[in-house]
């Protein structure tokens, strides 16, 4: 009888509360002692990827630091929905200063803690893609090059959602935003270079850079834990779908984040001191169309006539990522 080699895949790993796992391997989130750092009652939209991401990141960081954590937050959705006066969802010491200065504020906190000899307390800074890649970029780069002891987390939802969905330098090509409307010869966002924040972070040679999505929360928690084992400047870039800005159903947040990875559009990687040390492989690449179709921000690509040419260009971006980062799993 001819032998057929088959490979079995664990399909349940995305489930957060997987009780089949050994207790040590379960997520922070499925543990009764989780800190609920961003606690319930905040005003995020249904299906908000950022709220989900922030909760996982901070609970994991709180666990790693045994609750000795201070957060600096950039202006943006996360700040607005978590602190509507007179309420606050934050269960840790939390400071919001301005839109473009969270990395510098965090550097200042870290410097103060060092001078005060409170080395047990760690610092995390967080912001959206606009606050991180655009208006806060100089401060971010400064924090990186000084190697200040800060973990910066960017929750990337690919546009300025808080102000009404305007384009940022993280907005993907062809996406509709309030100022890249699907009108004219080249509907949607331009095909430019954009800004690849993880690669730029890596170019600073900082101890740790990672990307993650809210589709794989085990992976996200693992990366936060790894980051907190290290000192110096660390950067985690989390893809967080936004139902409002992307024009997707609330229930699609996790699936879209997974598709972003499986198409190759969002490479999930890990790097230390400027070198890639791990990539999350794609078992079976998904055509980008499957990712683009459920999102109204790409609806103009599937009208009459369909813009197969534009979809092909997006596919080329994904294919390039797959080649560049070696994302394909080789059996």
């Amino acid at each position: 009888m001819p032998e057929e080699r088959i490979k079995l895949y664990q399909l349940g790993t995305f489930a957060v509360g997987n009780r089949l796992l050994d207790p040590d391997e379960r997520t922070v989130q499925s543990r009764s002692e989780r800190s609920n750092t961003l606690t319930s009652g905040h005003r995020a939209c249904q299906g908000c990827g950022e709220a989900l991401g922030a909760r996982y990141v901070l609970d994991a960081a709180m666990r790693a630091t045994e609750g000795r954590l201070i957060a600096a937050n950039a202006t943006g959705c996360l700040e607005v929905f978590s602190t509507p006066y007179p309420e606050s969802s934050w269960q840790l010491p939390w400071l919001h200063s301005l839109f473009g200065n969270a990395p510098a504020v965090a550097s200042g906190i870290a410097a103060a803690l060092k001078a005060q000899g409170r080395s047990d307390i760690r610092v995390v800074a967080q912001g959206g893609d606009g606050g991180t890649l655009d208006i806060g970029f100089a401060c971010l780069s400064g924090m990186f090059e000084r190697n200040d002891d800060v973990l910066y987390v960017c929750y990337d939802n690919e546009a300025y959602m808080n102000t009404g969905v305007q384009r940022s330098s993280a907005t993907p090509p062809a996406a509709r935003t309030a100022n890249t409307k699907p009108v004219g010869d080249e509907p949607g966002n331009v095909f430019g270079q954009g800004k690849n924040a993880p690669l730029i972070a890596m170019a600073h040679g900082i101890p740790y850079v990672a990307t993650a999505t809210v589709a794989n929360l085990h992976d996200l928690e693992h990366k936060v834990e790894r980051a907190m084992e290290l000192h110096g400047a660390r950067y985690i870039h989390v893809l967080v779908p936004c139902p409002l800005g992307w024009g997707s159903a609330s229930k699609e947040t996790i699936r879209l984040a997974r598709l972003a990875h499986e198409t190759g559009l969002f490479p999930v990687i890990e790097a230390e001191h400027g070198e890639v040390v791990a990539v999350t492989k794609i078992r079976r690449p998904v055509p980008v169309e499957e990712y683009l179709r459920p999102q109204k921000r790409f609806a103009h690509l599937f009208g009459d006539p369909p813009r197969t040419d534009v979809v092909a260009r997006v596919q080329a971006v994904a294919d390039r990522n797959i080649r560049r980062f070696g994302l394909l799993e080789v059996d």
Binding site: L95, S107, A138, C139
Partner: protein
């Protein structure tokens, strides 16, 4: 002990005596020597424990100071000119959050045209940013004000700006008494923050506030600043008691005490030294003139200024900045203090972009004012080169594409200086 010191070095040493735990800085002339001095003191270990952050911009410098202060560290930074403007957003944030940061502003002009020399355009552009604003007349006063500034800032939980004239003070070498560490420690207690980021007692700082409470939060800021009107003289008094020299306070008059004088000259900063010399000269000649120095511009000591000026026949405000499109800035504030009184206020703009304010020019000005050759309520520019202005105005009238002002005037200046026209 009095020693010959550059103003910046003296301030650096005074700041170090205040034991800041975090200093964040970005280079801009003419404040660089101050933070360079502090960098040395941190590197040699003389100032310890202290973290010195060399950041990527003034915006970053003040932002790092905001984080450090919120984490309970005594925090210092310094800037000037364009740097202060680049900080603008963070200035309002620091005061809005009530963080007791102390910052030296080495006052310098603002471009365009770019100019590195002294005037008060920088601080005046940010006069309403919610920071307490103190002005030093001399390097000794600059040193003393920094100790007082930390005491004031931490007592009120508000940021304080110490203004000292760029180059005129920062780069001037003169005898200065920098308090010893023992003296400074005795004057300035350890920082006990009103609010601090602490995992043992987690608080949210910087929450969003809507119409339901925004006014009340802002009114509290104002109330705290108004408290400084009592606190500034009290701290200056404590300082004088301990160190035996008067510095700081809300206003000062010359001669002291001020007898009602016919003409009172009002100014801020180092130009008061020159003004007082002219006052001496004119009084010796029988001219009834005196001076009023504003040492604390925000909060604005309205009552003290009104009290000092209400008996004057006229008030001459000599200011090193002006608001384009309206005129004097300090002048407007002085008029507010004199509201309802029949005292004419002359707005005189002097010393812009480092132009020297000389005794001779001030004497001419005051002679013109006393003889009523200058109209009150009309903006006067001291030592204005009318010929240069007229040439450019003529050129603009003659042709549409007349070119950039600054370059045209510089070219003319060369021609005028060469005497070839």
């Amino acid at each position: 002990m009095r020693r010959q010191l550059e103003g910046s070095q003296a301030v650096a040493q005074a700041v170090a005596r205040c034991r800041p735990q975090v200093v964040s800085a970005y280079p801009i002339s003419p404040q660089t020597h101050i933070v360079e001095g502090l960098s040395d003191l941190v590197r040699t270990g003389e100032l310890h424990p202290c973290e010195y952050l060399m950041v990527e911009s003034e915006f970053g410098a003040l932002s790092a100071a905001i984080g450090a202060s919120a984490a309970g560290a005594r925090t210092y930074t310094a800037t000037a000119s364009q740097g202060l403007l680049y900080m603008a957003e963070a200035l309002y944030n620091a005061s809005g959050l009530g963080l007791p940061i102390v910052m030296t502003v080495a006052n310098r002009a603002i471009g365009a045209p770019i100019n590195i020399w002294n005037d008060h355009s920088d601080v005046m552009s940010q006069r309403d940013c919610g920071w307490i604003q103190l002005f030093a007349e001399s390097n000794q006063e600059a040193v003393d004000l920094h100790l007082q500034a930390f005491a004031l800032a931490e007592e009120l939980s508000l940021p304080v700006m110490v203004n000292m004239d760029g180059f005129v003070l920062t780069h001037a070498v003169e005898p200065v008494d920098v308090p010893s560490q023992v003296e400074a420690d005795a004057f300035l207690p350890a920082f006990e923050p009103r609010q601090v980021l602490d995992p043992d007692d987690p608080v949210t700082i910087g929450a969003m506030v809507g119409p339901e409470a925004f006014t009340e939060v802002k009114v509290l800021m104002h109330a705290k600043q108004m408290q400084a009107l009592d606190m500034v003289p009290r701290i200056a008094g404590e300082f004088e008691e301990r160190f035996g020299r008067g510095s700081g306070g809300l206003v000062r008059t010359y001669p002291y005490p001020l007898d009602p004088a016919e003409t009172v000259v009002v100014a801020l900063g180092s130009v008061l030294g020159t003004i007082d010399e002219v006052v001496d000269e004119l009084r010796a000649e029988g001219v009834d003139v005196a001076s009023l120095g504003i040492r604390c511009f925000r909060p604005y000591p309205l009552e003290e200024i009104r009290g000092a000026l209400c008996h004057a026949k006229r008030v001459v405000v000599v200011e090193r900045a002006f608001a384009v499109g309206i005129g004097g800035i300090v002048g407007q504030n002085v008029r507010l203090a004199l509201a309802g009184l029949p005292v004419p206020v002359y707005d005189v703009v002097a010393g812009l972009g480092g132009r020297a304010v000389t005794r001779r020019s001030l004497r001419t000005l005051l002679a013109d004012v006393v003889a009523e050759r200058i109209e009150p309520h009309r903006l006067t520019f001291l030592d204005l080169n009318h010929e240069l202005l007229d040439r450019e105005l003529r050129r603009m009238g003659e042709r549409r594409k007349s070119g950039p002002h600054a370059e045209n005037i510089l070219r003319d200046l060369g021609v005028v200086a060469a005497g070839s026209h």
